[in-house]
């Protein structure tokens, strides 16, 4: 039982890391219809910003550095991708975003070298909850992730801000006629999404270590979670983020030993799950069948 709970606990932390990025992707997709996959690299860059801040000064300096990185890349993303929204070329936007992500990772590898860096030296502090152990960064990840998921769900589904966000990409001319500054909204969403990605970059690096390509696997899983959940359904995105993290872990850890599933199978199971779910529910796990005339 302890083993079962510990696997759930570890997988929940991984799932929450995916959730952070999936929510960032969701927000940008909601206002610009572009899948901004460079968010994983932005998360990594914020982690390195935090690391650099620690080298220079204190935790406050580290926080400041990572925020500056998040704001800079958020604004840069807006400048780069805005014209693809205006020209209604989301696919080109995706390609530019991918290039941006690879460029950021390459820059990090050149500046900081590819060997891993630790944000917390030595053994991580452990929090014991009824025999189930969490690392302290893991607890922060779960707590912030819970608040963020709840806030995003309420904000998008229950408030006028959420309706405005969705309408910016759905009917921009109508939004403009209502006097809403949609440019400002998109700019803000890009920056907020980068900050959310930055938070997971720092927390994930604290929980393990910092490497130039650490954001890649998270982005891939988050990107798939966005579609499995339904790219316009925030509830689906949240649930899919956890499903795509928990199910592979259980298959790896509970399959009969003759299968010899190792950690290397994780992404295989993620893709297999996505394939199965999207085959039956192409509009996301909570979508309803629409009768076509």
């Amino acid at each position: 039982m302890e083993f079962f709970l510990q696997i759930i606990a570890n997988s929940l932390v991984l799932g929450t890391q995916v959730l952070f990025l999936a929510l960032s992707l969701y927000l940008i997709k909601a206002v610009s219809k572009i899948e901004h996959v460079a968010l994983g690299a932005i998360a990594t860059a914020c982690g390195y910003g935090f690391y650099q801040g620690l080298l220079i000064g204190s935790n406050v300096m580290a926080l400041l550095f990572s925020l500056v990185v998040a704001f800079t890349f958020g604004y840069l993303s807006f400048l780069l991708l805005e014209k693809f929204y205006k020209n209604k070329e989301p696919l080109l936007g995706l390609i530019v975003s991918l290039s941006m992500g690879l460029l950021i990772e390459a820059m990090i590898a050149i500046v900081f070298k590819s060997s891993s860096k630790s944000l917390i030296e030595g053994i991580l502090p452990i929090v014991d909850v009824m025999g189930v152990k969490f690392t302290l960064p893991g607890v922060y990840t779960l707590a912030i992730g819970f608040v963020l998921a709840l806030a995003a769900f309420v904000l998008v589904n229950k408030t006028p801000i959420g309706r405005t966000l969705r309408s910016v990409s759905e009917n921009s001319s109508l939004v403009s006629s209502l006097g809403i500054n949609q440019l400002k909204i998109r700019k803000s969403v890009y920056i907020i999404s980068s900050v959310i990605a930055g938070i997971v970059g720092v927390l994930a690096a604290m929980n393990t270590s910092l490497t130039p390509n650490m954001g890649f696997n998270l982005t891939i899983t988050a990107f798939i979670a966005l579609f499995v959940g339904g790219s316009s359904d925030i509830k689906g995105t949240i649930v899919a983020s956890f499903l795509l993290s928990l199910i592979p872990e259980f298959l790896i850890n509970y399959a009969p030993s003759s299968f010899e599933f190792t950690n290397s199978y994780r992404m295989f199971f993620v893709f297999a799950l996505a394939l199965i779910i999207l085959s039956f529910k192409p509009r996301g796990i909570f979508s309803k069948n629409i009768r076509q005339s």
Binding site: F3, Q6, I7, N10, S11, L14, A109, K113, S114, S115, S116, S118, E121, G122, I123, L124, I126, K133, T135, N207, T208, S209, T211, M214, E249, I252, N253, T262, N263, S264
Partner: protein, 362 residues
Amino acid sequence: MKTKLLIILSAIVLAGCAGNTIEESNKLEPVKIGVLVPLSGGASAYGEEMMMVLNHKNQMLETPAELYFEDSKCEAGAAVTAFQKLVDINGVDAILGGFCSSETLAIEPLLAQNDIVALSATSSSPEIEGKSKNLLTIGYSDVVIADTMAADIMDSDKIAIITEQNDYNVALKNSLEERLGDKIIANESFEKNATDMRNIIEKVKASNPEVLILNPNVGDTSINLLNQLAESQEFFENVKLVSQETYVADDSRSQAPELAESMTLFAAPSLDSQEVTSFIESLPSSVDTLGVFYSATASDALENLVRSVNDSRINQTSVQEELFTKPLTGLSSNGKSFDGNNFLQGIEAGKYVVTDGKAVLQ
């Protein structure tokens, strides 16, 4: 008759002159050695120290070689690209490397095609044995490590292994599986350069082992693994921890010193001759990561490669013939030979126990 005699004499003199010219030009032409070392990535600290050792040793040679260093990143793909550059662009006479077994095995098919010899100072995968005669290694085979390690823990019936998935570690794991059989109750592995091994650790804990063999590759992964094991310190302090070369360097254990205390390591033998000590002391900086044994094998690999290339030019033989037929010289390889094998013969494993934070030879 006189004319014929004159022609024959002239021919002999000319041939002699030509021979001298070839010999002299060969002696004048420096040997070009291409070196494959990881200069970036998790194993870069090893590569940088090896580069320092080789540059130092090169200056000690009677005729220094031209050394061409390429970053092989401890990755098969990078090693192949680096090899092609060394052969096609730099036109090297021989290769010193690869460093990691995955690199060495990756370049093996290219050696015969390019008619070039590679001599590794560090690669230890048993898969190297029986490969092309163009590939040699003066490190020890992991079979030696597996034999010694298995003999040491054979009394236990509950053994767990955690392995990183790359050529070197998988080869060692396979050798251990052959020797330990059903005594292995948990056999977990993780992908190369993984950062989160916590679920694997939980699986190992659930099997309740008496002995845990840690089998990651050198570099950051090994540090992460030990740190994450230390998060369950109270469990693993009752388990005998056993490992290989990876944890011999003190830096690799420095973040989890309490857990690593009393860890048993099976690795290269210790070299403590005066000659070795003098060489290590003469180096411009320390070799804390690479260690004494591999510093010595790196030095020996360069010395013997340069000698073999020079001798092959003089004797009109091949470099592999020179390496295979003559006993080697140097610090760790002196008097030893390959005897037709890909691994240098006569090297035994050393057993170390971590005591007060240091790996102490038993």
